[in-house]
């Protein structure tokens, strides 16, 4: 697996196939709202201000408060930068396209502000975290040629015959492992099925792994019989979403490849009858339809928002203040879980400026963390649309340590500047032949100033600016010369991040990004990079073990924790209650704050412009969970 994201300004943090569903936690909530409408949202370059405690509840007045429900109005109009290549829910792995599919059919469940679970198609519950029972709503209906009630059999069949098959190759298949450590899914009633995990996982819903679409068994059967993956991918009903019945707030009327998707309002939307959601859903949706147009040119997308032809557009940071001045547009700044960071290479082909790799020393890393001003990164590089990062979790996460004093704020206040940086580096080099000269330059044993390289993305100006700023700060505050070099991200992944396959057995081999101990190295030497950022998974941070365990699958930098990471992650992974899990995670994040295994810099925000008369969007990670209840103010 990989949890890497490009830190480039021109690319949205892309989901890999295993994580794209988890990504819905980010994109889906925002995406349901149509926020993935433009490239502008694709830049991890925006800012959030302090987490807004008020924003944990939707600011849309509820039906009870307003006495009467909103009027229906014309269509919700949005633009997307790239045309969808498929709307087949079994094979889509693009988050923005998931939004389009989501208009016509909800997935199993979602989360509301405050990480509150909302059962959509099914509820999920477990006594011990090992066996999860899914209970379907009883009013879910397929439509078109497949008109009938949705049953548990449809989900079980989909998992067993498609995702757990060897031929279908769906993006979701890694979520449904088979074999000894596999997941066992069984139908236990007409509207009930259960998933048995090999071990307890109290955050299983938050992992998004059990998130499924309802697909009629009859559509899948012929392809299962023939093991015809191509046929399944090209099936007309799946591509044109003809079977969605009452499963979504809208129905797909027209998919004009390359130009537009037109949806019309669904009068039979199943959540209208639900008593466990906002009363606003009683008459939802309130738009007559949705018109989603493909507009590749950013200037045109922004122009459309300005003239009212579009109700939403992602805003590039340099245009945010301009749109904030407009009466016709409301700008939302929503936090993301993506962390921008510096990766230090602790393997044997890193720190090429003298004997002994200083990145391996915790005190040295802390010194480097003090050398870069996070506030200046936020203001100067991300134009104020980001938050400083001190540990591997955003502050709004429920797993962030409540006791702030346990988290040192490296790179801000007293912990920023030449003195805190050099004092920690001096501690690190105390017993070595490295030294500082009278001019504050860090000298290697040969008496030369230490010079290291920093790779940045060749296709991102923001990433390049970040690298240049870091180089300047390291030289000024730590006395280390940094040479920046532009590299294509895919080339970096192959030649630098992935290690070459070692000859013979190694102590561990966790895949291409961690094939073994530090003497197992990549094809090319490297010191530092800012090309990739990491997803911090605030809903289910237990998966961060892949970055910070010695044998974690995404540990290309060769970090060896000097705290009991394995034990703490074990505690978290085997916890039987959320409290137990949270205790372990908080301890992990305090340790990560001290260890600084990577140079944690900022958490980016999305900046999204909405037409001012649209009621519903909130400045929260979970904005968009209630998109069917959004409406246009009279």
């Amino acid at each position: 697996m990989s949890d890497l994201i490009d830190q480039g300004e021109d690319s949205h943090p892309k989901m890999n196939r295993r994580r794209w569903l988890q990504g819905l936690g980010i994109a889906g909530t925002a995406g349901l709202a149509g926020c993935t409408g433009g490239d502008g949202t694709d830049s991890p370059t925006s800012t959030s201000t302090e987490p807004d405690p008020e924003a944990t509840e939707p600011d849309t007045p509820t039906a009870t408060e307003r006495q009467e429900l909103p009027e229906r109005t014309g269509p919700y109009q949005r633009t997307i930068a790239n045309a969808a290549s498929t709307l087949n829910p079994l094979y889509n792995n693009v988050d923005g396209v998931g939004t389009l599919i989501g208009y016509t059919m909800d997935m199993g469940y979602t989360f509301m502000p405050g990480t509150e679970f909302l059962p959509q198609l099914y509820d999920l519950s477990s006594d011990n975290g090992e066996v999860w029972v899914a209970e379907l709503r009883d009013n879910l209906m397929f439509g078109g040629e497949y008109e009938r009630q949705v049953t548990a059999e449809d989900f079980v069949y989909q998992v067993q015959e498609i995702h757990q098959s060897s031929w279908a190759g769906t993006p979701d298949s890694p979520n449904w492992p088979t074999g000894e450590e596999g997941y066992n899914i069984e139908q236990t009633g007409e509207l009930e099925f259960q998933i048995e995990l090999p071990s307890s996982n109290v955050l299983y819903p938050e992992s998004y792994e059990p998130l499924l679409y309802a697909i009629p068994k009859e559509i899948m059967e012929p392809y299962v019989a023939e093991e015809d993956s191509q046929g399944l991918q090209q099936d007309e009903d799946l591509l044109e979403l003809t079977f969605t019945g009452n499963l979504g707030a809208y129905q797909l009327d027209e998919w004009n490849r390359g130009s537009a998707q037109i949806f019309s309002r669904n009068d039979d939307y199943y959540l209208r009858d639900a008593t466990d959601v906002d009363p606003l859903f009683e008459e939802a949706p309130y738009f007559e339809g949705i018109e989603s147009q493909v507009v590749q040119e950013e200037a045109s997308r922004l122009g459309a928002l300005e003239t009212g032809e579009s109700d939403v557009a992602g805003l590039p940071p340099n245009r945010v203040s301009e749109f904030q001045q407009m009466e016709s547009v409301d700008v939302n700044i929503t936090p993301t879980p993506f962390q921008s960071l510096i990766t230090w290479n602790m393997r044997n082909n890193g720190w090429n400026t003298g004997p002994g790799n200083l990145f391996r020393d915790r005190s040295f890393r802390q010194g480097l963390a003090c050398a870069v001003s996070k506030n200046q990164v936020v203001q100067g590089i991300y134009r104020g649309f980001a938050d400083p990062a001190y540990t591997f979790q955003p502050e709004w996460s429920t797993f962030y340590p409540e006791d702030d004093s346990a988290i040192d704020q490296w790179g801000t206040g007293d912990l920023y500047g030449p003195e805190p940086a050099r004092s920690r580096i001096r501690d690190a080099i105390e017993d070595t032949d490295y030294s500082y000269d009278g001019q504050g330059r860090l000298l290697n044993p040969d008496g030369d100033q230490c010079t290291i390289t920093l790779h940045h993305s060749a296709s991102s100006n923001t990433n390049q600016s970040l690298a240049e700023f870091i180089a300047q700060e390291y030289e000024e505050n730590a006395g280390i010369v940094v040479e920046t070099t532009a590299t294509q991200s895919s080339q970096f992944l192959t030649n630098y991040f992935q290690q070459e396959a070692p000859e013979g057995e190694t102590e561990w081999n966790a895949g291409p990004f961690n094939r073994g101990p530090r003497d197992v190295t990549s094809a090319e030497s490297w010191d530092m990079t800012v090309i990739y950022g990491y997803n911090t998974y605030p809903l289910n941070p237990t998966v961060s073990d892949v970055f910070f365990l010695q044998d974690g699958s995404t540990n290309p930098q060769g970090y060896y924790p000097q705290w009991d990471a394995e034990e703490l992650y074990n505690q978290a992974n085997n916890a039987t209650s959320r409290e137990e899990l949270a205790d372990a995670m908080v301890e992990i994040f305090v340790n990560l704050n001290q260890a600084q295994p990577i140079g944690m810099l900022t958490f980016s925000s999305n900046t999204i412009g909405y037409a001012a008369d649209i009621e519903g969007p909130i400045e929260d990670f979970f904005s968009g969970w209630d998109f069917p209840a959004w409406y246009r103010e009279d």
Binding site: R257, G258, A260, E309
Partner: protein, 324 residues
């Protein structure tokens, strides 16, 4: 043995050229790494699976494990039976994708071509008739401006002025308006204007220079002496011989713009035509659609050349089919 035989030979040659180009394109695409296989390998690597096994599975699934000649033969047979494959990036048959795109491209290409053919030579002729006067300079300046300014940039500027600031035209191209409607004229006016200004420059200059040769020619003087009207002199005695060399420029320029500049204009104005379809197919490495589009553009180019030759012979009676 006259024009019919000439057309048959030209069409046959066009078919051969098309075949060669398609074969070369197929060869180049096949030599490039297959994106689906690459994707499978990357995903396997990221998931910690065996990339080589993933590549093998993907090749098997895509039929790439078969000998190249079999795949080539299948492809060629498919081309001539209109089975141009399945577009992976649009999930529909390639022929359907191209027809859908052509529907939108034709809506602006037809008026653009007609206007270019009409306006370009007339402006050139006007310039030639008023050589070195302020009118000539204005016409030349206009032509050079349109020729020099990049179409996509000009398009964005006009879109911002007329779409965003003045709100006279829609910023987003609407696919659902009827073809023959004022709304469609309104949304296509600016892209057509951008393309026309971009394409008349070269045509205007050639027609001006060629016309200038004839303005003071003996046969023109004779016609004037005989009392032939000015309009007749310009349109019949000067424009006709001018059109012979001009037709070559016109076809090649329109073809170049059709495949190049129109693509950028389609991207700027969000027109889902052939240009954007080809562009997206290339960026998505959608082999079938790239090949289909290439075939289509090759077809257009060969037909264009054929028409050019035919127009040439019609405009210049001295050209004989027998000599060819």
């Amino acid at each position: 043995m006259g024009m019919e035989w000439y057309i048959v030979r030209r069409v046959a040659w066009a078919a051969i050229v098309t075949f060669i180009i398609v074969s070369i394109t197929w060869g180049l695409m096949m030599a490039a790494p297959n994106p689906n296989v690459q994707q499978a390998v990357t995903q396997a690597a990221l998931a910690g699976d065996d990339p080589e096994a993933a590549a093998e599975r993907a090749e098997e699934r895509l039929g790439l494990d078969r000998p190249a000649h079999e795949r080539y033969l299948d492809y060629v047979v498919g081309i001539y039976t209109f089975h141009w494959g399945w577009s992976e990036s649009r999930n529909q048959p390639v022929t359907v994708a191209l027809l859908q795109a052509l529907y939108y491209t034709a809506q602006y290409s037809v008026p653009w071509t007609i206007l270019t053919i009409l306006i370009g030579p007339i402006v050139g002729l006007y310039s030639a008739a008023n050589q070195y006067s302020w009118k000539d300079h204005v016409a030349t300046g206009f032509a050079f401006f349109g020729y020099a300014i990049p179409n996509f940039f000009f398009g964005i500027i006009l879109l911002l002025i007329f779409g965003v600031t003045l709100e006279w035209i829609p910023v987003i191209y609407q696919t659902d308006v009827p073809v023959f409607s004022l709304a469609n004229v309104n949304q296509l006016a600016v892209p057509v204007f951008v393309l026309v200004t971009g394409s008349i420059g070269g045509i205007m200059r050639v027609s001006r220079n060629e016309s200038a040769e004839y303005v003071n020619a003996d046969f023109v003087k004779t016609a004037r002496a005989k009392g032939v009207s000015t309009y007749k002199i310009y349109f019949q005695h000067i424009l006709r011989p001018t059109m012979v060399p001009l037709s070559t420029t016109m076809v090649s320029q329109l073809l170049a713009l059709f495949t190049g500049a129109s693509l950028l204009v389609e991207v700027v104005f969000s027109i889902p035509g052939l240009g954007t379809t080809l562009y997206r197919a290339i960026t998505a490495q959608d082999t079938s659609l790239v090949l289909g589009s290439t075939l289509f553009f090759t077809f257009i180019a060969t037909i264009g050349n054929l028409l050019q030759d035919l127009v040439y012979t019609m405009l210049d009676p001295r050209i004989s089919f027998e000599d060819r």
